[in-house]
């Protein structure tokens, strides 16, 4: 065992981070680093799992067999992403079952975006385009995160997400170029999801107390506001291309900054949704809780079957 004191260990740890050497599960790490990552990765996993619900809502009502197959594949990917992430969090000592129970009791958080309802088919397009687009913006820098298992999970996730965004944009652009009603449906969906999508990047930098430490540890590689600005700058052009209007009257190209200026985000709404008072918070958690409770017999049966199979092998 090491006889180094904690200051030495912390100094060596930070030196590794500064030299871009990845941290692996059995390496020494400060408790704060472990806790921050466990919280972030499990929240990320919960978001993937809860994120299946708004889209699952439309699987049986997709307008064609092709769209249904695509949507199923996308939702299945989200389940996979949740599993990669729970496994990554388990390498830090996370208790998976407890973490899931924390989600169900409301103690653990997940992305606020999934507490908004999916009212029309156009929302399947908008979610892929904006929500997965924003997620990709967030996740690409996480591929360079200092914690090896998280970074590796993110590489897989990002590879798979790009199809999610493209299929969404395809749905939106088809609707936007369709009949007047279809175009209106796409516009209405954009109107409802634009601001919540911007909130996905989290609070403003001067309101995000843990960000500086996360950046020093290279858990986070870009600030919330930087990523939000990047997202707006690329998305405005995409909306223009398909003839939709971003619902922000203050949106204006700023020549000097080389970026778009945009209106004020309703942080009160964001806080309300985070605290559990969004339009669908209760519905989402109830759905997850029911899935776990009603699936208990399946898990028990699998255990019983595994035991039976083991006994059979022993008697052979």
């Amino acid at each position: 065992m090491s006889t180094k004191n904690i200051e030495e260990l912390e100094r060596e740890f930070q030196a590794k981070i500064d030299a871009d050497i990845k941290i692996e599960p059995n390496d020494w790490m400060p408790e704060g680093y472990r806790k921050t990552l466990m919280r972030q990765i499990s929240q990320h996993a919960h978001s993937e799992i809860v994120g299946m619900l708004p889209e699952g809502n439309w699987i049986t009502r997709a307008p064609s067999l092709k769209r249904k197959a695509v949507l199923l594949a996308k939702v299945q990917d989200e389940a996979g992403h949740g599993l990669y992430l729970y496994s990554a969090a388990e390498t830090l000592g996370l208790d998976r079952e407890k973490s899931i129970d924390d989600l169900h009791s409301g103690k653990a958080k997940y992305s606020s975006i999934f507490n908004y309802p999916t009212l029309t088919w156009a929302d399947m397009g908008t979610i892929g385009w904006l929500v997965d687009g924003a997620a990709i913006m967030n996740q690409v820098p996480l591929c360079r995160c200092s914690y090896g298992p998280y970074a590796r999970a993110m590489v897989r996730v990002c590879k798979e997400e790009s199809f999610h965004q493209r299929q969404g944009f395809e749905i939106v652009s088809l609707l936007a170029n369709g009949t007047a009603e279809q175009k209106q449906m796409a516009q209405d969906s954009l109107n409802r999801f634009w601001w919540p999508a911007l909130m996905m990047f989290g609070p403003n930098d001067d309101n995000s107390p843990n960000s500086a430490q996360s950046i020093k540890w290279k858990i986070k590689r870009s600030s919330n506001d930087e990523l939000r600005q990047q997202f707006i700058d690329v998305t405005v052009t995409q909306a223009e291309m398909v003839g939709l209007t971003i619902p922000d009257k203050d949106l204006k190209w700023n020549e000097a900054r080389g970026s778009y200026d945009f209106g004020t985000i309703n942080w009160e709404e964001f806080n309300q949704v985070i605290q559990g008072n969004g339009p669908c918070n209760k519905e989402r958690i109830d759905a997850r809780r029911n899935a776990k409770e009603n699936g208990a017999w399946v898990r028990e049966a699998a255990n019983a079957f595994a035991e039976k199979r083991k006994k059979k092998e022993l008697t052979h």
Partner: protein, 95 residues
């Protein structure tokens, strides 16, 4: 009787003939067969593999990262094991 949590499995995938199995991550499953079935769905949705190995995580014995400096030192100091240690005179080829 069996509400116990499913054990954790480490998953290894061979992406094509001629390459070795490579660790890709882990998952939970009731037994080895279920681990293989789940690994197919979790890790090979886009034809990433043609063969899967699974092993229960608790059966893996790993070297101690705290002692890795001492443990791997013997190879660090033997630079003469590398071809670049030797001088090859100009004009000599195929070596």
């Amino acid at each position: 009787m069996s509400s116990k949590e499913w054990p954790l499995w480490e998953i290894f995938i061979r992406s094509k003939q001629g390459l070795s199995h490579k660790h890709v991550g882990s998952l939970r499953a009731a037994d080895a067969q279920m681990a293989i079935d789940n690994a197919r769905d979790v890790y090979t949705r886009r034809s990433e593999g043609i063969s899967i190995w699974v092993i229960e995580s608790k059966l893996v014995t790993a070297s101690d990262p705290d002692e890795s400096a001492e443990f791997f030192e013997p190879s660090e100091s033997k630079i003469y094991r590398h071809p670049t240690f030797y001088n090859v005179p100009d004009g000599i080829s195929h070596m």
